[in-house]
Amino acid sequence: MTVGTVKLKIDNVEVAVPEGTTILEAAKSNGIDIPTLCNLEGLSGYGGCRLCMVEIHGSPKLFAACVTPVGMGMEVITQSDKLREYRKMAIQFILSERTHICAVCVANNACELQKLANDLGVDHVMFEREWTRLPVDSTHDFLVLDRNRCILCTRCLRVCDEIEGVHTLDLKMRGKDAQVIIDLDEDWANSSSCTSCRKCAKVCPVGAIYVESVALEETKDKGIAEFVLSRRNRK
């Protein structure tokens, strides 16, 4: 089957990309940067964090660039005052759901949430905090899950399922009450499916899954999913 080419405008620049490409991929391949948080190359699109929202000319709605396919003749705007305000608000919603009082993260520069908040100039949370207190699982030999820092981006779930292929991690509950669970809500030490591969810790954008005694900046590896896929596709 031949794949057609779609022509569109992103920030007034004419681009041509293969049919089925997402707006995010089209922008990226043409050097246009759209902020993302739940998105990770090599993993399926999720569209959960809403940081990558863009405007499409002719529609009053905003679209998540990571899960919206390009369309012929589309005019996409990736930067505007309106988008900036909404992105700042999205960060504040995320920050307000959990406490995010992260003693180490203040100093280590390894948090994507902190970086985005900084880039966008989010200097406080305008919504009332809930001060949730969620269980921390430190039963595994070296992996720790601190649900109080989790932003529910599901990168860990997707890497465990789609790349490691074991689907140890999942979510229970809904919305902001959702929590990452291990197997059928077991302690990590009792997991029969986890291979202890650490991929979940490598892709977690914050410090919610980490390897004990290893600095976060050393653990993180956003390229891990793509790397594994590239090895897998080798003939």
Binding site: T99, A117, N118, D119, G121, D123, H124, M126, R129
Partner: protein, 180 residues
């Protein structure tokens, strides 16, 4: 320059570790320049008992954790033109806010500090200000005009914000607010 033409600045220490004040003092030689332009009218580093009238800028460190602090904060707000949350405890609740997820946190922390871990005379003191049910960020209690996050905020950032405000320039925190 007469003292009346100087910008009247106050600093307040609520529930914090004083680290934010240390960072303020860490401005080194820039403090000398600043001192020429401001008049410090109230601060934990000076002996003034009552928060004065007509303050131009007040920088406040720490979360609002007890009734006295709540009263002082409201009082400072009434008497200040520009009120700034200084540091993560003031901006988010941070360390004092760690108790907020515990049920009856005020009783629980007092019991922990003065009874469970006491070597002698375990008893909850009665002559200290009553703790609020939660340690709150300032803007959940009063209107805050500017925020300088960080634990503590870097001295350069504090200096940058104050100098911009004194020159009437906009304060845009993009790329500067290390918010955690």
């Amino acid at each position: 320059m007469t003292s009346t033409s100087k910008v009247r600045v106050a600093t307040v220490w609520l529930s914090g570790c004083s680290g934010c004040h240390m960072s303020f003092l860490d401005q080194d030689e820039a403090l000398i320049d600043l001192a020429q332009q401001i008049q410090l009218v109230y601060s934990p580093i000076m002996d003034v008992k009552v928060f004065p009238e007509n303050v131009d800028v007040t920088l406040i460190e720490g979360a609002v954790a007890n009734e006295d602090q709540e009263e002082l904060l409201k009082f400072a707000r009434e008497r200040t033109k520009i009120l700034i949350s200084l540091g993560d405890c003031a901006v988010t609740g941070n360390v004092p806010g760690l108790r907020n997820g515990i049920t009856n946190s005020a009783d629980a922390v007092l019991k922990r500090a003065f009874v469970e871990t006491a070597d002698m005379n375990p008893q909850i003191p009665t002559d200290v200000p009553t703790l609020l049910p939660k340690a709150l960020p300032l803007h959940e209690v009063v209107k805050v005009d500017f925020y300088i996050p960080g634990c503590p905020p870097p001295a350069d950032l504090i200096n940058w914000v104050i100098s911009r405000l004194m020159r009437g320039l906009p304060v845009n925190m993009e790329g500067r607010s290390k918010f955690g």
